[in-house]
Amino acid sequence: MTTDTERTRRFNELAEAYSTDLYRYAMWICGNDALAKDLVQETFLRAWRALDSLKDVAAAKSWLITILRREFARTFERKVPPFTDLEKVVIVDNDELEPDESTERDLLRQGILKLDSKYRDPLLLQAVFGHSCAEIAEQLGITKSAVMTQLFRAREKLKVQLQKDGVTGNVHELF
């Protein structure tokens, strides 16, 4: 039988290992800091309650992502999520990038937030969590070839957006 101490230890290990990536993922799917924090909190609250049902530690990451995605879907039932004005999403960074790099990064961020979820979801699962195409297919319930197509198109759309905005120089209008 799992003791309380053992249970707490398992939970804290999960939180330490996955909370950062889950927060990033939540932030990119909802574009709202407060909602992202709520989603992660609620995800781990549900995980804590259901921890005994997690038999395979190797499946923990996918398990937590599934809980978070469902929780995000449920926010539409409990309340209408706050409207996210993509043009006004500003992510504060403390790192020191060159101005050009910083501009490019901000354009990419706007592009990611504007991507249709069918392209953004697989891209985030791959780039944030390091999922393989097969794992993404399982997580999203689509075929591996559909995942490959969506990942390719997601990147193409971001590249086009980057080139378009880079050429027209409308960076400042975004913020």
Binding site: T8, A73, I142
Partner: protein
């Protein structure tokens, strides 16, 4: 057989971290391939930089507090009562099922919903595992993608005019609605059925059809595209 340039571009565009032997060989097979690979790596580095956002500094400490909460102990008395009720409802349902035939989809929808629709909606819980959902849909050669599965609060087999189907309660932004999935029944797409202050929207799917049922104040149209995209029907190998 080695891959051509177009295949290679698509592969690294979808999976730039791919390091299987064939892809690695292709990367170094010609200057054109090498340049494309470098370009993909550069873009990937930019993407990683863009995705890298810092979580709140106190996030982990906040999460650790969750583990200080007591885990709820299951109270078996309500479960026993619920089980008894389930046995009763199942028995009543069996009698109902065996005694019914319908001369039209419209009468089926109204009769079925009147039988247990509102009870099922009231009893729909917040927790359904993927396994619970896929176990039932797989028997009907169907599968729900995450967008739909994450919103299903209740699912069970149910009779339809042409054999077995599924009765689901699905969350929407206007509250829960009922969906009857009828794998072998054809309907007139977009037809509305009204009964007992409820209304139902009939939807043709790739294989079979569905009826979305809600109160007359609820807009049912919003669920149509989700059903069409996320309910994969007519699958023989799920």
């Amino acid at each position: 057989m080695s891959m051509n340039f177009s295949e290679f571009k698509k592969l690294i565009g979808a999976d730039p971290g791919n390091r299987d032997p064939e892809t690695l060989r292709a990367r170094h097979s010609s200057p054109e391939f090498e340049a494309a690979a470098v370009e993909a790596d550069v873009f990937e580095a930019k993407l990683q930089t863009a995705l890298h956002i810092q979580p709140p500094a106190d996030l982990f400490d906040q999460l650790k507090k969750i583990s200080q909460q007591p885990v709820r102990q299951r109270n078996w008395v309500p479960l026993a009562l619920a089980a008894s009720l389930l046995v009763f409802v199942s028995a009543a349902g069996l009698v109902w099922k065996q005694s019914r035939t319908w001369d039209s989809v419209e009468s089926y929808v109204a009769d079925h919903y009147s039988h247990d629709g509102s009870d099922m909606t009231a009893n729909a819980t917040d927790y359904l595992s993927d396994q619970d959902i896929s176990k039932i849909l797989a028997k009907l050669d169907a599968r729900a993608d995450q967008e739909l599965a994450g919103r299903i609060k209740l699912i069970k087999f149910c009779p339809t005019p042409d054999g077995r189907g599924a009765h689901m309660v699905v969350s929407t932004d206007q509250g829960p609605v009922t969906v009857f999935y009828m794998p072998k029944t054809q309907v007139t797409d977009g037809e509305m059925v009204e009964f007992d202050q409820m209304h139902a929207l009939l939807v043709s799917l790739e294989h079979g059809s569905a009826a979305i049922i809600g109160e007359q104040s609820q807009n049912l149209e919003n669920l149509v595209s989700t059903l069409r995209v996320s309910l994969k029907t007519g699958l023989v190998d799920v």
